[in-house]
Symmetry: C2
Amino acid sequence: MPDRENRLEEAQRLSRMLIGSTERAKADFAEIVAAFGLPAHLARAVLALNTPAPMRELAGQLACDRSYITNLADQLEERGLVTRVPGEDRRVKLLQLTASGRKVRDQMSEAVAERALVMRKLSAADRKTLAPLLEKLLDGESCAGSC
Amino acid sequence: MPDRENRLEEAQRLSRMLIGSTERAKADFAEIVAAFGLPAHLARAVLALNTPAPMRELAGQLACDRSYITNLADQLEERGLVTRVPGEDRRVKLLQLTASGRKVRDQMSEAVAERALVMRKLSAADRKTLAPLLEKLLDGESCAGSC
DNA sequence: TATTGTTATACTCTATAACTATA
DNA sequence: TATAGTTATAGAGTATAACAATA
């Protein structure tokens, strides 16, 4: 039945393009932030620290374990980009950008805003078309609900 | 300068949606093929073996190292889904689906064609709109060319 | 007792390098 | 000499579990 074959091919083609775009976007990001001496995972953390945040919270934002945040924090501290400051609740430590960290964040923000793949390759109209399509893909239940 | 902040936010929002969609699509695929007792990486290999292929070639298609293909082939052979058959060039081994492997591939093809995220969540019209946008993202030089 | 961050450790995925058998 | 597949090993990235301090 060629119809099923066609649907499979369309599914594979589109899925592969989606995956490929994401890989490209990630590689692009990595390349942009490498100019600031940061690997992607550290850069993401810096960009997330717009305001000082408990490590716990950062773990939520970056969708990773608390223990891994300890890791990131160590690396960022070594580079002089953040400091750990005690929270009111004395169990909590806030990660706060240093002056140097803020500078890096500001420059990185600008670079990413200008050169991120989705901004470079797509017009404003394209982006306006793309967003709702991606929202549909993200919307509601995953396969778990229907399979 | 709020304009730059806005552009950064748009870039981040769209990038995150793109990445999220891909993650969702991958998770979906994993869930679909799990019904056939296969982890995603083995399922991809089975779907790629439409016709018997040298391990080298499969490494190309799956974008991974030859040594990793040896791994996959071992696991697929253990499950009775493929056999290694000698090529004309006696250095080469072709991976060929067994009868059982073909059956799994056919059933998986059907399941993926029906239930893949991009097919379930998007109309035919949506997919027709999405494809050229992703092509733009994939098109031409990466950041290396312009940064 | 529950929660924060830390530590030590383990695991998954994949690649690298050295090896063999062919060519 | 170069190539296909194999083997053993190593690394990146991240999680898990037990722990100390605090709530």
